[in-house]
Subunit: 424 residues, 2 copies
């Protein structure tokens, strides 16, 4: 049926297919053909199912490219916001299936009207696109404490503003946001196309507060993936929570019944940190010092004192002079669950390079993203410890920060991003 | 032999392989095993040959990702600059072959020394990496007119400063540069790794003036490639010069004997323009108006009045009311060789998104790059006409500009980037 044609076929079939797609869209059956067999996984060109108990893009094996955007809501009209969330949901379902953002598409429909897709992804496959939405603290209370949308009483206690961490050098213009959307795909043009079309659809209701492109995912989120390297040249994410760890995911990732307001059950909290790396200083540091700072062997990713990447850290081992083999101020020790009362994160960060820093150096670093069940018991205590003691801080500067409540997945045709939050 | 091992194999063979590689590097035979059979072409993972009559990265089928950097030279010592160009050439030859930037590599050598590669590309294939160098006008005369490096008399007349074009809104901090390096690859991590290691090697001699990441090449440079779409959603580069057009390349791309100073023979001039697109305005323009502005059909890329993408433009055709079918102020008409005394360019641009523009919109656009035999007869007259008349100007703003003389290729072991310029 016409509702199932891809961007590629849409072009080939031309006008007739378009008319059919419009009819299917108007009938409101947009979600029916978007449910695939496999849960949230795709090859390089394939589609990741949009519907599900949880949002895709969290435990989905991390795609290679990121476009992340934070929006400010510029209306105080609740109905406008809810209408936008509905429209975004339909567009997200279409785009993740490799289709145009709207039923008319990029190149058909009346010539006197703007197209309902911008066209730069025409002919490109779905590319594993996932779109993941989140709600920031300021959606519940604006900076003056006002309840703009009548949802202040539904703000989860776990969505508590992050504290100031030692050394934070945050720039407000690349921090915060009322809403966020994370687009991940194997093709940056597909990720950019998706965010750009959501911004287009949101014209007059939201404006772009900040956005971030990333590449070379720094953390694998599945045991099917090799561990990639960050811009320090080290494997990153060896001990990350993985999609296959079902019971750990319940314990550390997904909000459980009774954790807080019911609308977040099955969701997860996202913390983003834009972390500038002073790679020029790092690059003049000896290999031995780099390995002491990280606590791992650069070549293999093995913990100091170990032999293989996935060897368990021996935090008690000591060297000839009685010093710990894994230094007290090493990153891997301080971030390890054993040092943090068992707290773990599902990290999903990306490398970035944003031109130059104006001081003759590349503006490079890590766009850190971590999903978790409760930041108050996970990111906050871990980062408090790292900010105080981590030897790596000499080479890092946290310049942006975000916190978002990512609701559970969209489960059916009449569902939309945030229905449980707004739908009463 | 050890000199031929890839990054991947280097890791596997460990210490013994490293020692062999060091020996091979010290013997000065670095280039021998870098010459492959095929001229400047590679599959997604393969290596593009570094040595050749022309530099790779110009007619090489455009890779999907870009990291472009412009450097300022911060020394006045000619010998230091020449030494750097020699060292860069060796590192470029290694990295384009998928090897570490230096013979010791990222994870071996003495623990008390910084590694001579930063490591984030360990385990990644060559990914079609090309590195292309260029010399800016300010390398020949600094802004005060001083001949810093004794090469002022070798400045090619074709490397004349670009004029101010109508509507230019150039930001000096993302314009110009004494040197540039264009890194193109199928993997952004590989392109970023290459530029980052060149910057590392250049510490104390050069500093990063500006850098730009790009994706989704906007112009195909080979008939093997489908025409990609720019962020206006249109196919871009249909009528571009292609690698297969040998006689056109001699006429329009490569500097010929007698064109100017002999050291540039076989080279080409690069013009870069960072062009912000006001995509939000464009997205609210009707399909018909978009097609009139561009002069092509959005779906197929065919010229207005034509049927297929590669149909010849009929600039004389008129409609029922006598108006030109391809409007007088359309981009395709104004940029067409027939409107420009036959002048043509080899375009090699990339899309970019740099966060937000601070006004609630994505900071998106086109990083335009065009290679040519003489900008005075190609880019300058074409852009003068476009700046005055192009209907597309309503949606564009030129914010950065660069001009570089890209010398011919490195041809042998003792050759290096710019030897013909400096080696007397």
């Amino acid at each position: 049926m016409a509702g199932g044609v891809s961007r590629r076929r849409m072009l080939a079939v031309g006008g007739a297919g378009v008319a059919g797609a419009v009819a299917a869209g108007a009938a409101g059956v947009w979600a029916h053909d978007l449910i695939a067999e496999t849960p949230h996984a795709a090859d390089a060109g394939g589609a990741v199912p949009f519907l599900g108990e949880h949002q895709a893009g969290i435990t989905t094996p991390a795609q290679d490219r990121l476009h992340f955007v934070a929006f400010d809501v510029i209306t105080d009209n609740r109905a406008e916001l809810v209408d936008l969330l509905r429209e975004w949901t339909r567009a997200a379902a279409r785009m993740t299936a490799g289709r145009d953002a709207g039923p008319v598409g990029a190149v058909a429909g009346p010539a006197e009207a703007p197209p309902d897709d911008t066209g730069e992804a025409l002919g490109l496959p779905p590319s594993g696109l996932t779109l993941t939405v989140g709600f920031g603290p300021t959606l519940f209370h604006d900076p003056s404490g006002r309840d703009r949308f009548g949802i202040a009483d539904r703000r989860p206690p776990a969505l508590a503003d992050l504290p100031h961490f030692l050394g934070d050098a945050l720039d407000a213009t690349i921090s915060g946001g009322d809403l966020c959307v994370q687009a991940c795909a194997h093709d940056p043009q597909v990720a950019v196309h998706a965010i750009r079309n959501l911004a287009r659809i949101g014209f007059g209701v939201v404006s772009v507060r900040w956005s971030q492109l990333g590449f070379g995912r720094t953390s694998s989120t599945s045991r099917q993936q090799a561990t990639p390297r960050n811009l320090f040249g080290f494997k990153d994410g060896t001990a990350n929570l993985k999609a296959e760890d079902s019971s750990l995911l319940r314990q550390h990732l997904w909000v459980q019944p009774g954790d807080g307001p019911e609308w977040m059950t099955g969701g997860s909290y996202l913390v983003t940190r834009k972390i500038r790396m002073t790679i020029e200083t790092w690059d003049r540091t000896s290999l031995a010092e780099q390995e002491e700072v990280v606590g791992r062997i650069k070549a293999t990713g093995a913990p100091l004192g170990g032999r293989g990447e996935f060897d368990r850290l021996d935090l008690t081992a000591t060297g000839a002079a009685g010093q710990p083999v894994i230094p007290r101020d090493s990153h891997v020790r301080l971030a390890h669950p054993d040092t943090n009362d068992g707290a773990r994160l599902l990290r999903r960060g990306y490398n970035f390079v944003d031109g130059s820093d104006g001081l003759g150096r590349l503006g490079a670093g890590l766009f850190f993203m971590a999903y978790q069940r409760d930041p108050r018991r996970q990111f906050v205590p871990i980062q408090t410890r790292l900010a105080r003691h981590d030897a790596m801080n000499e080479y890092l500067r946290h310049v942006g920060s975000g916190l978002f409540a990512c609701p559970p997945g969209v489960r059916a045709d009449d569902d939309y991003w945030g229905r449980a939050l707004f739908g009463r």
